[in-house]
Symmetry: C2
Subunit: 555 residues, 2 copies
């Protein structure tokens, strides 16, 4: 009877209605299990921001309940906020071998490796923690060593799929652990959270293996160097590039910092297998004939500072694209990156390279499950309640509809929100208020010192620039002692707008004169009058609204 | 013999390696024919810019030779720069009825209608102008009344396809004028310029008519209001929406300024046909049952101020999206707009609408020819020389390869550049130097007063904001009389960074003291010292690089 009133609280603190910063708290009585701790890359209107991380106020308030952060896989949107969060919340971090390998590199950079307890787990491990236990279940994804997480509570199992796809022929030879999913499904799963990324796509995601077949075919045809850009974290993709190179007697060089890091970590941990001498330094490639060289590089998203972009722009210290090169972009642009990728492709063509970038060529497959795979997951796990996660609203909504189309009662599906509390007990699921959540901006060394006001100013400055008006007034009678001087940046070509600036100065003088006559002496009023009069004048003349910054000095 | 030395000069002044601002000069002896005069929408790094228009210095220098501007169709990227160009270059403008109808609305807004000579033409019209004549040939595109332009010169015909697709069942009942294309092809075409937009797509572009069939099907299913967002200029699409509405006894209302403008112009000129009383004002729709209403709206690109975005955000004065509404987004996102469109779709879902936006549903077809259509054009026209236009480099390159694959000698294809002169005579084609070309930024009322320096400043300001340092120095000995004061915008939350600002002031004082000691008195050196010292200090503390603006007042 006691347990009838008990409940599991599921609180996503990020990752809902957005792509990135995935983090979810699962709470049962005195225990909180945190799943993932990711970052988000800034939207284009977050000027100057480097990264976005989740607001973890709720976790800080409940510090003593937290049993650890449990990672599903090593992508940035699932682990990237760790270096920031761990500074405030020093709890154990659980993850599989490769995931923790990537986390270690990251924590080392931030000087946090020594102070963090990292606990390595493997699929089927079960960690007992007070009133709950946490189990890891093997899945497939676009990074090796991905797992789903099952939390066994006295009320039942809460399952989080993590990011997944179903690959019957994965590169590591181990498909998802169907047996275990079916087993816990048979015993009964209280609630499931599942990856919604590809819910709009019918059918099945192709196996990673088809990409290897494309590489083999393309490498055979290539008469010069082959340069492959892909996501650094896709270790299986990298393995397949190396295999194709080996098949055609080509040496492999690696370019781009994150690619070099991951290849080192993955090779050390045994996730990449190759003959020692196939890998050569990027400065060694000129020793080999062009048709004996493959370069694996970052830059598949067109990032302007990436190795591939630098090669395309003749800014790479070791590699310049030349006629005869074959460049394979083994990725699809993440929404928002289309133009950047397009720019790089144009440059590569201009340099005479053959560029292979179409989805047609099967040089990339997704890491996320399409509709038929999502249905399979529903049918294996047969959860009582369903919470679609990892997607924008439209994805969550359609994922919910998919579950309903398979027979789930409409009331058993809850579309979550960041910070929204979902209470689940044996018989019901309901939304129950909210906790603090949101986004924290990282800008340089600052974490959280840039907020909406600063961003609003940056946006304003970016549109029409700034006009600074400086004037020195007499302490006694507010008469002008020096100035007004006007300096603008980002507004107009000053040289061609001298008259505009001269007239603007006259406006300011006139305004100050009026204020003197009307005995307006407090600085706030003076500044606001100057700002208003100048704004009207400039808008009339230019239809622009620069930021106006009046500065009064008094002596 | 005389003509052997004569040549046709083809000079694209825009539209090459970019999407937008199409404009080409075709020159024979003393005559210049200008084809199209378009604008480009700014890239995301052109902060604050409203529009981009072509640099027409070359045309201004050769004013007396220009016989007119000849328009292929009424899209912004082909006519949008007219109001700016005509102010400097008052020449006749030739176009078909609908094209000129749209131009008129535009010129009226800019007060240029009275001073411009607009000459209405129809397909197969031939305009004789001194040594050349200009012929208009009917095509199909995503706007009615599109034409190709053939320039008959003593050296042969130069053909510009304009934007085109091949539609065997167009809404106006008139397919492209195959007969005329074949006829001039048979007589011999010296050079062809052709639309490269869809050269990467195999097969054929579907007929506009399939979209109408989808509308009919979707309208039949919809239980509430139907809201269709599409490009305002696609008059045939609008006709099909009205036809589907009529078929299901629904009234039609129009929302969005450009949509209202085009519907008015198109109806007046006879390009839209419907029974008078089917059209109702947007404030009348509440008089009808929801299942008797269709709203045609702008916003298919997710533009934040568009009617659809306002409906989705509950900011539209007349229409609020409610459960039961069906929203059809009859367009695909233009590269760069994906995220904006996605945002609107999410909002619409959140409001409970059914949203139909997938290419799967055949609710949009392209206006540009795919590979098989491009091949047909090559085979009809059989040009001696080929210049692919209207695309990024990769499109032009692949379009060239398509022509070569059909048997054209490699040397007969020239990939053009903006400002690059292409000389063609009976036997040869070659690049021959360049003329001034480029982009002119329109920002508010200013045309060309914002250039790269201003944009660089806006970009800098957008990333890290600005810090203004003001100090009043004594004329006699450069000692500090007032200040230094530091005011920042877009840099940090000032309230949380008081210590940083206080320390920054100390840095400035210290720097000025040092300068005094070392007898550094000229302002340029003082300012540069202040800037350098402050920059190092702030970078060390924040890893940010705000713009630093030192201002010295002297009394």
């Amino acid at each position: 009877m006691k347990n009838e009133k008990a409940k599991v609280r599921i609180i996503p603190l990020g990752g809902i209605n957005e792509i990135g910063k995935n983090i979810t708290a699962i709470e049962y009585k005195e225990d909180i299990i945190v799943i993932d701790c990711g970052l988000k890359f800034p939207d284009e209107d977050m000027f100057g921001i480097d990264l976005v991380i989740p607001d973890i106020s709720y976790l800080l308030k409940n510090k003593e309940k937290i049993r650890g952060i449990f990672l599903t896989h090593g992508h940035e949107d699932h682990i990237g906020a760790l270096p920031y969060v761990l500074r405030q919340l020093n709890v154990p971090v659980y993850g599989t071998k490769l995931t923790l390998g990537i986390v270690e590199t990251k924590l080392k950079e931030h000087g946090l490796l020594g102070s963090t307890e990292l606990i390595r787990v493997k699929p089927r491990d079960v960690i007992k923690l007070n009133s709950v236990s946490v189990e890891f279940i093997k899945t497939n994804h676009s990074i090796a060593d991905s797992v789903a997480i099952a939390i066994h509570t006295p009320l039942g199992v809460v399952l989080h799929t993590g990011d997944f796809k179903i690959d019957y022929t994965p590169i590591d030879g181990e498909p998802m652990d169907f047996a275990r999913f079916a087993e816990i499904g048979k015993k009964g799963v209280l609630a499931m959270m599942a990856d919604s990324t590809n819910v709009e796509k019918p059918g099945y995601t192709l196996s990673e293996r088809v990409v290897g077949e494309s590489f083999a075919r393309l490498f055979a045809k290539a008469k010069g160097r082959v340069i492959v850009a892909t996501f650094a974290s896709n270790v299986h993709r990298i393995q397949q590039i190396i295999d194709a190179a080996s098949m055609h007697g080509r040496k492999v060089a690696v370019s781009g910092r994150s690619m070099e890091n991951i290849v080192a970590v993955a090779a050390e941990l045994g996730y990449l297998e190759f003959e020692k001498d196939i890998l050569v330094g990027i400065d060694q490639i000129n020793k080999y004939n062009n048709d004996k060289v493959v370069i694996i590089t970052t830059g598949s998203q067109g990032e302007p500072m990436s190795a591939l972009a630098r090669m395309a722009n003749s800014e790479h210290r070791k590699v310049n694209i030349v006629e005869g090169d074959t460049v394979i972009i083994s990725a699809t642009p993440i929404p928002g990156n289309e133009k950047l990728v397009s720019k790089v492709i144009n440059r590569l063509f201009q340099k005479g390279a053959e560029v292979i970038y179409k989805s047609l060529s099967e040089i990339h497959v997704s890491g996320h499950a399409c509709q038929e795979e999502l249905k399979l997951m529903q049918c294996l796990v047969k959860p009582k309640f369903f919470i679609p996660v990892h997607g924008e609203y439209r994805h969550l909504k359609q994922h919910g509809e998919l579950a309903i189309s398979l027979g789930m009662p409409e009331g058993n599906v809850v579309i979550p929100e960041n910070g929204g509390v979902i209470d689940v007990n044996r018989n019901s699921i309901r939304k129950n208020g909210t906790v603090t959540s949101g986004q924290v901006f990282v800008d340089g060394l600052g974490v959280g010192d840039v907020g909406n006001i600063v961003l609003r100013d940056r946006k304003h400055l970016s549109q029409d620039g700034i006009l600074t008006v400086v004037v020195t007034l007499s302490k006694e009678n507010n008469s002008i002692i020096a100035g007004p001087d006007i300096i603008s940046r980002g507004f107009v070509y000053v040289r061609e707008s001298e008259r505009l600036m001269d007239e603007a100065k006259e406006i300011v003088k006139e305004t100050l004169r009026e204020c003197e006559e009307n005995n307006i002496t407090d600085w706030a009023s003076l500044k606001s009058k100057v700002r208003d009069d100048l704004r009207s004048y400039l808008y009339e003349k230019t239809k622009r609204k620069p930021m106006i910054l009046p500065i009064i000095m008094e002596i």
